[in-house]
């Protein structure tokens, strides 16, 4: 591109942005002569340059706009229509400029529409509206005009209230000196004298050289340290401080004031006011706060979304505001402050605040959360749902917002650069969105680790915690068929070895789980553990982009040079997840994840696959298993004909998975441990094979005691064991009667039990009996689901014992609703107590069955479905 043209484009783009902003301000202060003179000059400059470069379309447009503006200078009234017209003209100019930038020629087309109107107005159709009878969106101008009338001198009439800050920010950036308002070329002249344009690559190059200088300095300092009475000490000291200063200044060249990201906002607010019929003032503070330009680029869009949101959802209409006793004009304040390496930006409005009820209702409807969960959530937690993708509380989609894009974009963009977003509000008084973002992207905190004999950096943002797993500690690594899981407090975390992912493992070497650290990484809602050999320290690193030829590896996000001059690679947690995501066992559903969105469609179930007896492969629903243990055989004893093991200072009964098959004679005995309440029992197996996630589709029933049936798991017929069979073997008092199971006709059962253990245990039993089962943990969610799709369920099976909400509440809820009043309910209890039975009868619960009495349950289900069919017929 022609140098002259390029220069022109850069300058004109800037000028045009300025005119945009100045005009909005001017509209509010129509008697501000300084501002008018300035606007006139800006437009005039565009016109002049266009003429010089031979750009007729731009010239004609700017000429027409200039004529109209000069009418204002002669005292013509500044109307909203006129300002809108000029703003439209500026939009057109921008459009032409963009084409010019791409194709180096003005686009074809006519601007007669705009030019005609501009000249018509400029030629003094004085019949236009005057200031006094301006329409709605600009009442402020009308109200303020009389008082400001007496200010023809070039002194900016201070607008009332917070407008001051705004005016300050504007003035400091764009105003020529107040004393010499008429000096031609004021701004352009002053600026060009003090600054020059430098290519970005020049600055990047400088930055690189300075980094190198810093490294060399460090090496020199290190050398001098070994040499006690060195003559170098003095000069080195000076070199050191000069280097530090140089580094700081070069960093500074990359910085730009945040106001560059705010350029478009005054215009945006003006347009939104007109569109929404609201009256909003924009107050900007801290415009001079400086940020790395790379960061600045990324936060430009969020600002637009935030302003739209505040204007649309936050600020009320003038009438509403008057009704609640607020000034008719709403305010959106944006402020930026620099605090200890981060920039805090607040976008605050004095509107109605967040409506938590509405957000909660919407979150529930969208299936983002279950009702029980919602109850326990704080308002702050609920408010965070506004950052979910596609979330909106507005039922209609407006041009402005409500399409559910926006806030999630804000969060994504901010989190991408290692920042955070938070929202606070006072109902009826307004809301404030706070963003904390790093000053620069070029430097991030990273954890330096070693794996496979090589060092790597992990961005600190992704690191949740560091765990040192030890067999003796509560954090322990468990292996299932070569797949590792970390027991971390309440959860089993999938764990991968970094060296294995990177292909740095020596062939055939065994991995000792006690030898290393687990870096727990969090990515969105998922977390996983990364096993590394060593963990060093956290270091601020200068991120350098990775070469294009290495990008396809997709596991490194960049590289950096450490203090000692070594190059190390920066790991990208996202890439790691993608790489391991193909493995079948890496994602395990959260145990209590029962979001209604999964409702009637059948869930996949996680199975624990193991070997027992004569090498047969068997499985048990993972949810039913509390723990996997490996007992030293010496800890297992036979007492009174029963096998027991010492476990956590207690003795627990152990039952072989295949009746009569012997336990291991020496070494380690794998045991599946089941706990319910204070009772724990173990099932001894030969070998734990794997955890698989598959569709639970049981083919046949009752080949052998303790087997619910067989299912095809990963394409292989596998027997599913019935936990209910084993527990009574371990604890005879759990045992209940036995009767032949009565297979019922296929029907859908809603199973509600807060304990994953029982859900896991009953699910296969019910499936084996031919029922279609939807299992939920939350009673409120179950109620909502039953009410929504009352016809799709034949029976509800619910636990009636749990503390808090339980099957009784569910029964009350169901009966209160006409749609679900007829739905039979079967209560589940581990002990059949008279009081509970009494209450069940009073509530019209069809039957109450003991939890381990699976045949009783099957019978009750059959009766209930028949009963319902009879009632329905």
């Amino acid at each position: 591109m022609d140098d002259v043209l390029r220069e022109f484009l850069t300058e004109t783009f800037e000028t045009v942005e300025n005119v945009d902003r100045e005009l909005v301000q001017f509209e509010r202060e129509p008697n501000n002569a300084t501002m008018l003179a300035h606007i006139f000059r800006l437009v005039h400059t565009i016109k002049g340059t266009c003429g010089f470069l031979g750009l007729p379309r731009l010239e004609a447009l700017s000429h027409a706009a200039e004529s109209l503006i000069s009418r204002f200078r002669e005292g013509a009234p500044v109307t909203t229509e006129a300002v809108t017209l000029i703003l439209l003209t500026i939009d057109r100019i921008k459009m032409i400029l963009r084409t010019l930038e791409e194709s180096q020629a003005e686009p074809d087309g006519q601007d007669t529409d705009l030019i005609d109107e501009l000249t018509a107005r400029a030629e003094g159709r004085e019949t236009e509206q005057t200031i006094g009878d301006q329409p709605q969106p600009e009442p402020a101008v009308a109200a303020r005009a009389p008082s400001a009338q007496i200010a023809p001198t070039p002194i900016i009439s201070d607008p009332p209230q917070d407008g001051i800050e705004h005016a300050e920010a504007q003035r400091s950036r764009a105003q020529p000196s107040k004393a010499a308002p008429a000096r031609p070329n004021g701004q352009g002249g002053a600026n060009s004298a003090q600054s020059i344009r430098v290519g970005l690559d020049t600055l990047e190059g400088l930055m690189t050289m300075v980094s190198e200088l810093v490294l060399t300095r460090n090496q020199l300092v290190e050398l001098a340290r070994h040499d006690e009475n060195s003559d170098f000490k003095g000069p080195l000291q000076r070199l050191s401080s000069v280097t530090a200063e140089l580094q700081e200044r070069v960093m500074k060249t990359r910085m730009q004031p945040i106001s560059t990201a705010w350029q478009k906002l005054p215009r945006l607010v003006r347009d939104l006011c007109a569109e929404l019929g609201k009256d909003i003032e924009l107050a900007l503070t801290g415009a001079e706060t400086e940020l790395d330009r790379q960061v600045l680029e990324l936060i430009k869009d969020p600002f637009t979304h935030l302003i739209r949101n505040a204007a649309d959802h936050g600020i009320e209409t003038p009438e509403e505001r008057r009704l609640v006793g607020k000034p008719a004009r709403g305010t959106i304040r944006i402020s930026a402050v620099h605090e200890s390496g981060t920039i805090t930006i607040e976008v605050a409005d004095d509107g109605r605040g967040l409506d938590v009820g509405k957000i909660a209702a919407k979150a529930l409807e969208r299936g983002l959360v279950g009702p029980g969960e919602l109850e326990r959530m704080s308002d702050e937690r609920i408010a965070r749902f506004i950052f979910e993708p596609g979330f909106t509380t507005v039922s209609h989609v407006s041009h402005v917002s409500g399409r559910g894009v926006g806030m999630d974009v804000v969060r994504t963009n901010i989190e991408l650069i290692g920042g955070s977003v938070d929202v606070r509000w006072v109902p009826g008084e307004g809301s404030t969105l706070t963003m904390k973002i790093p000053l620069t992207l070029a430097i991030v905190a990273a954890l330096i680790i070693e794996a496979g004999g090589q060092r790597f950096a992990i961005p600190q943002v992704a690191v949740l915690e560091l765990v040192q797993p030890r067999a003796t500690s509560e954090h322990r690594l468990e292996s299932i068929n070569g797949t590792w899981l970390l027991r971390l407090r309440e959860t089993l975390l999938p764990v991968v070895r970094l060296s294995a992912i990177l292909g740095l493992d020596p062939v055939g070497e065994r991995f000792d789980p006690e030898d290393g650290f687990v870096v727990v990484l969090k990515l969105g809602k998922r977390s996983f553990g990364l096993v590394v050999d060593k963990v060093f320290h956290t270091e601020e690193i200068v991120v350098k982009p990775i070469s294009n030829i290495l990008k396809p590896i997709n596991i490194f996000s960049g590289n950096t040079i450490l203090g000692d001059g070594r190059v190390i690679l920066i790991l990208d947690p996202n890439g790691i997840v993608q790489r391991i995501g193909h493995g079948p066992t890496m994602t395990r559903p959260e145990r209590d994840e029962v979001a209604p969105r999964r409702r009637v469609q059948e869930d996949k179930t996680s199975f624990l696959v193991f070997r027992a007896g004569q090498g047969e492969v068997k499985a048990v629903p993972l949810a039913a298993v509390t723990r996997l243990e490996e007992f030293d055989v010496s800890k297992i004893e036979t007492v009174g004909g029963r096998i027991v093991a010492q476990y956590r200072g207690d003795l627990i009964p152990i039952v072989p998975a295949v009746p009569g098959s012997p336990l291991h004679a020496s070494g380690i005995q794998p045991v599946l441990v089941f706990s319910e309440g204070d009772r724990t029992a173990g099932i001894a197996v030969d070998e734990i094979v794997d955890i698989v996630e598959d569709h639970l589709d049981i083919k046949a029933t009752g080949q052998a005691p303790g087997i619910v049936g067989s299912a095809v798991i990963r394409g292989r017929a596998t027997e599913i064991i019935d936990v209910a069979h084993f527990l009574p073997l371990a604890y005879p008092d759990w045992f209940e009667n036995a009767a032949a199971p009565a297979p019922a006709r296929s029907n859908r059962v809603l199973l509600v039990d807060g304990a994953p253990f029982f859900r896991g245990m009953l699910l296969p039993v019910l499936k084996a009996a031919g029922y279609d089962v939807v299992a939920l943990a939350e009673f409120d969610a179950a109620l909502a689901l039953a009410q929504r799709s009352a016809d799709s369920f034949a029976v509800v099976v619910a636990d009636i014992e749990s503390r808090g909400r339980n099957g009784f509440d569910l029964a009350e809820g169901l009966q209160a609703d006409r749609r679900t009043a007829e739905l039979p309910i079967i209560g589940l209890a581990s002990r059949l107590q008279p009081a509970a039975l009494e209450r069940a009868r009073a509530l019209g619960i069809f039957d109450v069955v003991a939890k381990f009495d699976r045949t009783g349950l099957i019978e009750a289900l059959a009766e209930a479905t028949q009963h319902r069919e009879a009632a329905g017929a």
Binding site: T208, Q454, L502, N548, I549, F556, N559, R566, V567
Partner: protein, 175 residues
């Protein structure tokens, strides 16, 4: 270490256009890199290997604060890479705005060769060599293979390399 001063072969016809090459040695064979591509010649101190990278990537190294992705010319040519010396000569090359290094056995002088003298690749040249060779210069004391930087570092280079990796090695070009 900086570039060798320009010298040698002044007797080659200078009437027609000439092109200057930095000569490098790999496995006894002389190669020529167009001088306009070459920025530095240096000795690699510590190279950080890149796991999972294509085999020809030797690793990353720090050249005065810049991270240079280094490729082994020996591996690109699918020659044995076992007898690696601890420190190796690297030719710094700029391509597509990035810094690359080509690890070689040695760096020789800069030759100015007439463009008219450039011979096309012989048809019996090993395809893996032919892919990165832009022609042959016949010097008094041997042959010089002109390297096509684009073919080594260009976007198509790696998929191509992978495809060609299945060819059986033939030591056709050893004089």
């Amino acid at each position: 270490m900086t570039l060798m001063p320009r010298s040698g072969f002044e007797d080659v016809e200078t009437t027609s256009e000439t092109r200057e090459f930095v000569t490098v040695l790999v496995d006894g064979q002389l190669f020529g890199l167009p001088i306009e591509c070459v920025h530095d010649v240096f000795i690699a101190a510590e190279v950080t290997p890149v796991p999972l990278a294509p085999p020809e990537v030797a690793g990353l190294l720090n050249l005065r604060g810049r991270v240079v992705t280094t490729l082994s010319l020996r591996r690109i040519l699918k020659l044995d890479d076992v007898d690696q010396k601890p420190s190796r000569m690297v030719v710094g090359v700029e391509y597509g705005g990035e810094s690359f290094g080509l690890a070689v056995d040695g760096v020789g002088e800069v030759l100015s060769l007439g463009t008219a003298e450039l011979q096309p690749n012989p048809i019996n040249l090993d395809p893996r060599w032919a892919r990165i060779a832009a022609g042959i210069h016949w010097l008094e004391n041997g042959l010089l293979v002109v390297i096509d930087i684009e073919a080594i570092l260009g976007p198509a280079s790696h998929s191509e390399g992978a495809r060609l990796a299945s060819f059986s090695p033939s030591k056709g070009f050893q004089s």
